[in-house]
Subunit: 406 residues, 2 copies
Amino acid sequence: QIDSARLWGSIHETAQFGATAKGGVRRLTLSAEDKQVRDWFRKACEDAGLEVHVDALGSMFGLRKGRDMSKPPVGIGSHLDTQPTGGKYDGILGTLGALEVIRTLNDAGIETEAPICVVNWTNEEGSRFVPAMMASAAYVGDFTTDDILSRKDSEGTTVGQALDGIGYRGDKPVGFQKLGCFVELHIEQGPILEAEGKTIGVVDSGQGVLWYDGKITGFESHAGSTPMPLRRDALATLSEIVLAMEATAKKHGPNAVGTVGEAIIANPSRNVIPGEIAFTMDCRSADAAIMDALDRDLRAAIAEIAARRKVEVKIDLVWRKPPTHFDPKLIAAVENAAKTLGYSSRRITSGAGHDACNLNTVIPAAMVFVPCKDGISHNELEDATQPDCAAGTNVLMHTVLAIAGV
Amino acid sequence: QIDSARLWGSIHETAQFGATAKGGVRRLTLSAEDKQVRDWFRKACEDAGLEVHVDALGSMFGLRKGRDMSKPPVGIGSHLDTQPTGGKYDGILGTLGALEVIRTLNDAGIETEAPICVVNWTNEEGSRFVPAMMASAAYVGDFTTDDILSRKDSEGTTVGQALDGIGYRGDKPVGFQKLGCFVELHIEQGPILEAEGKTIGVVDSGQGVLWYDGKITGFESHAGSTPMPLRRDALATLSEIVLAMEATAKKHGPNAVGTVGEAIIANPSRNVIPGEIAFTMDCRSADAAIMDALDRDLRAAIAEIAARRKVEVKIDLVWRKPPTHFDPKLIAAVENAAKTLGYSSRRITSGAGHDACNLNTVIPAAMVFVPCKDGISHNELEDATQPDCAAGTNVLMHTVLAIAGV
Ligand SMILES: NC(=O)NCCC(=O)O
Ligand SMILES: NC(=O)NCCC(=O)O
């Protein structure tokens, strides 16, 4: 059994790095606050006897030796970055839960056959740099390191500059640390476990993701003197696109979602008809055929809206992550650990993307979910209970012991 | 006849203050660029023999003596501020056209019975500070000087601070310069004169304006893991409001328009459902009953949308300007001047608000319109021809001579 109070203490101690007035955390990847939590995490890992290395994209790897060092380590962990208005658990539970597993094994004097590697992946959230789960995507070879290093945030700062800015451009090449498998603990970020009164979600699959950058070019003109029929209003165009996105996702539901999260009017003024808007779209489904249908329907709807409104709309697909089907053996290991420990559980699909989804494309991976209050995440009010966090960490530990061998 | 080349030269000389790459002007009221054009204008007025005074809100008054100084001056002028992406003519033609009238009278050695006063009104555009036509509204007593001085821009800078910042908080109280009447020359900012091949618009009325500040409070949550039916999406709510505004204006059309010009998502992120949006609305009609109907229908539509989406929408009416009906005698004087000079003309309603609309509530006022290319305004591509600008200025001059007496 892990030390629930110690885990809870770590979560709340690190929540000070980027704490917001509303009780959440604002800790964008590679920001000053991210440096603070990374420094804390490195020291905690070293204090727990781990050998810590940082790769060229800032991902942190803390290795605990196994009896048989010829075996590839069992990877556990998640991320410590947050959304602009994020919570205290998303990613953090999985990273500090992994640390707690190590501390518990140390206290109990338990040696494992295979080594264990605790990981903190850079930029899981994707709000500062595209794509989300950036560093694990490079780890599995979806992108080159150089490509990722050159990606820019909205201020024009590159990943490389941001890494140097906080001193976390590591000296190890991406992929230097081989892993045999990866198990990630996370809050559910959805309402199902709580609604059904289950403690553990055994994640068997994850939604695929489509991310688009969009740009609407209408025509700026006077709000008072331009007759309604002559307008080429970029915001009215966006409005139809937002509602088309909503309708398209609903049409393909329940196994589909679609969101416009960002929209910026160029040079806004209250008496000017908006002429130019940059926006982003996020569509998801756990079914690849539905993802294709979402893409097709959305493009058709946008083309029709643009033509009718005599406005130009450009859509760029900037990221496509196929649906995930986790490793059956690892899924069974998680399920078995939950059962052995006496926790109620159910199989579940992840609505969010996770580093484990990337890793699953090259090594066996799985995930453990615990409930979060009202399914709320990507919100400062995100909440989870201490017993649920401890339960998830126990399941993580027992899964690791089963895989690594005692 | 005014000096067409000199007028054109002044317009293009001052267009350098805030010139944009696309050939427009960005000269927000009380900005550094506004100071540049004000300094230029003050010197030009003084060189033309005018006695220049600045009032407590930065409006500039250049007085040309008349034979009978007991008569109140005939006011002419407009504004030199622009939209964030504005043109070279909106307001500028009327202000520099007024200066050109003085220069022409000087050159011809013409004295008038009543004095003439050239005016540059502060913040006509309303994009930096609310309301538009701010200084003329204070001049006619719609707002107190202290109220206006305390209004803030989006950065929190007050009108008072901005005036001090460029050294244009004048020593004269608002209203110090009595005017007997006011005639404003302006580009039409709409497509009618050009479409009908008319040179002069004799403006007999102006649309009333409703300005609202709006705020939507939905709930931020995860774009991937929040099922469509559970969302309280602030941007989808805004989208319905934008389209309801469009539909409402069309329903009450053709004599009505409605625009959402500004919308800012709080803490936007591509994988977060927008939770909070601030926006503005601008509705207009030349018919007061239609204005009331727009307000009523819009509020009803917004209430329905908010209730259905379980989202809070707050709407504040921050400015209400009733429709304008200009002074019949002055309208006739403008029409007569156009006729005498041999220009084609038609009566027209102004879609935009103008300082003359404010002045008309306390003294007789009228306006002269000239065509602008494709009716485009509040756009960097705003354009007008030299002959049309000269024609309007000639009509302005002959109207002034008729009123002031030679
Ligand atoms: N787990 C999580 O919130 N990941 C962020 C990436 C995404 O799914 O949008
Ligand atoms: N003339 C003009 O563009 N005025 C700005 C105020 C408004 O009508 O919106």
